[in-house]
Amino acid sequence: MIEARELTKRYGDKTVVDGLSFTVKPGEVTGFLGPNGAGKSTTMRMVLGLDAPTAGSVTVNGRSYAGHGAPLHEIGALLEAKSVHPGRSAEAHLTALAQTHGIARGRVDEVIELAGLQSVAGKRVGAFSLGMGQRLGIAAALLGDPETVMLDEPVNGLDPEGVLWIRNLLAKLAAEGRAVLLSSHLMSETAQIADHLVIIGRGRLLADTTVEAFVRETGTGAVRVASDEAGRLRALLAGPDVTVSGSNDTELLVSGLGAREIGRVALEHGVPLHELTPLGASLEEAFMDLTTDELEYRSAPADGRSAR
């Protein structure tokens, strides 16, 4: 559990994080979204006590990070910037971290295996690809079997298999009752993993909501469903907040319901589906709408019209 209260960070006269309050609850994945430069990484460094807040406070499982006797057991973090000596092996890096908390040698092997790094564990980290570096960072984050897991742009540099691995891993961690915070600047990608969303821009909170509510409120996130029994499914899905439109007999465009619910309804009533696609692009657009005014590094309009 992470609780930020009026968290503020200023560098000189530049306010990077501005009165930010949010809670990361156990048992769910919270997506921490914002454009580049929104203050996500700074916020995460403040959670770990690496940067001191100018004002406000942030606690991990009810206490400031430095107040914990065994912090790696409370929260495990992957930070965006590299934080491993390139001359050291992955195994040596993890061993040194484990020793600060008296963590048994076996756990080091366990997380190496979990991250799929067995074949490169003895190699110098400097020779690692971006993806392997991310896996090592995630192994380090999980080393202390933490209650809360915080990952800054974890899918950065991962191949599709790695992205899938992260998704399953985070879902499993949340199912085990852990609090998971995951930062990203991509809405569509985050919406597939997260239950809850904390969206910031220029250090200020823009939205603190669930993925479902965000989709509903922004009126986006339609799901394309294809089924041979589209007509029956249309009736089954009908509800006050749900609109279903169809272009032909087999395809429906559903808004107001997530892919998860639609899949469940179809399964319960034995309706076979051959397509169930959340239309992520529109979600991304809604996110852009929300954050456009807050963009730190906005690209100049190419033709004098709207930047978007």
Binding site: V84, A92, H93, A96, T100, H101, I103
Partner: protein, 283 residues
């Protein structure tokens, strides 16, 4: 308390939790030992320091010519003094001091340049134990190799100087103290490096500061008015340290005990500044 296992009822269907113990100084020390061991520069610097001390000192004794020039151009504290068997044995001390100083600088500044410091401080959020552990390890390791190097050089040198007027034995007055003084001085130089690296957070900056303070500062001090120079000169870090390993005491120098105490004072001051910055500023 130290063996306590932190465990709490986990929500959901969590599997058996990994046993985790609270962060304690001895665990930080063990972790830092692993970090020292698992990086190449440690072995390169320590080996180089040992070789420079042992080899230069031995060669010095074997190439010594009794009828030749009677003064050394060795390290500060020895330079320009009448040659003696100990100063010959410590011929490599200047170079060795740079190498062990760089070793110290890299152990802390290297964490900043590579980003490792974020992992380190996330594991040890109290921060200061990391600095103390690094200082103890760098100082301890260098004390051992410097003592080995200095004694090796002296003992091999004894063979080379056999029959020369300046030959002395380990049992003669001041010899043991000088050699141990040299080892202690180098150990403190390593700690000085640790402190400078942590203070400046940059390998290049740390090494530049180290070289300036140890080697260039005494020379620059010549620009001071004579009366100032005479008063201040003995207290410069490397001059004060030099008093600890010079065989004979002279009037323009501190006594060996005072010398090492003054140098230790400089190191302690720098380490305190480094601790302050580490504790107070963002990383």
């Amino acid at each position: 308390m130290s063996a306590m296992t932190i465990d709490r009822p986990a929500g959901g269907a969590a599997p058996a939790r990994t046993a985790v113990k609270p962060v304690r100084f001895h665990r930080v020390l063990l972790s830092e030992t692993t970090k020292f061991r698992t990086i190449r520069s440690t072995w390169i610097c320590l080996t180089l320091g040992l070789v420079l001390l042992g080899l230069f000192g031995s060669i010095g004794a074997f190439t010594y010519d009794g009828g030749g020039a009677g003064v050394t151009d060795g390290p500060p504290g020895i330079a320009g003094r009448p040659l003696d068997a100990v100063s010959l044995a410590l011929m490599g001390l200047s170079f060795a001091s740079l190498v062990v100083g760089v070793f110290g600088v890299l152990s802390t500044a290297g964490e900043y340049s590579t980003g490792t410091i974020r992992s380190t401080l996330a594991a040890v959020p109290k921060r200061l134990p990391v600095l103390w552990a690094k200082a103890i390890l760098a100082g301890g390791a260098v004390l051992v190799i410097a003592a080995a190097g200095a004694f090796t050089a002296f003992l091999i040198g004894t063979v080379g100087l056999d029959g020369e007027a300046i030959a002395v034995s380990l049992g003669d007055e001041g010899v043991l103290r000088s050699l141990l003084g040299a080892a202690l001085y180098l150990a403190l130089v390593a700690v000085f490096g640790v402190a400078l690296g942590a203070l400046l957070r940059s390998p290049a900056g740390g090494i530049a500061a180290l070289v300036s303070i140890l080697l260039i500062l005494p020379g620059l001090a010549m620009l001071l008015p004579d009366s100032w120079y005479d008063t201040l000169n003995p207290y410069f870090p490397s001059n004060a340290g030099g008093a600890a390993y010079a065989l004979t005491e002279t009037a323009d120098r501190l006594s060996p005990g005072e010398g090492i105490a003054v140098f230790a004072g400089w190191v302690a001051l720098t380490l305190a500044a480094a601790a302050f910055r580490l504790k107070r500023t963002d990383v």
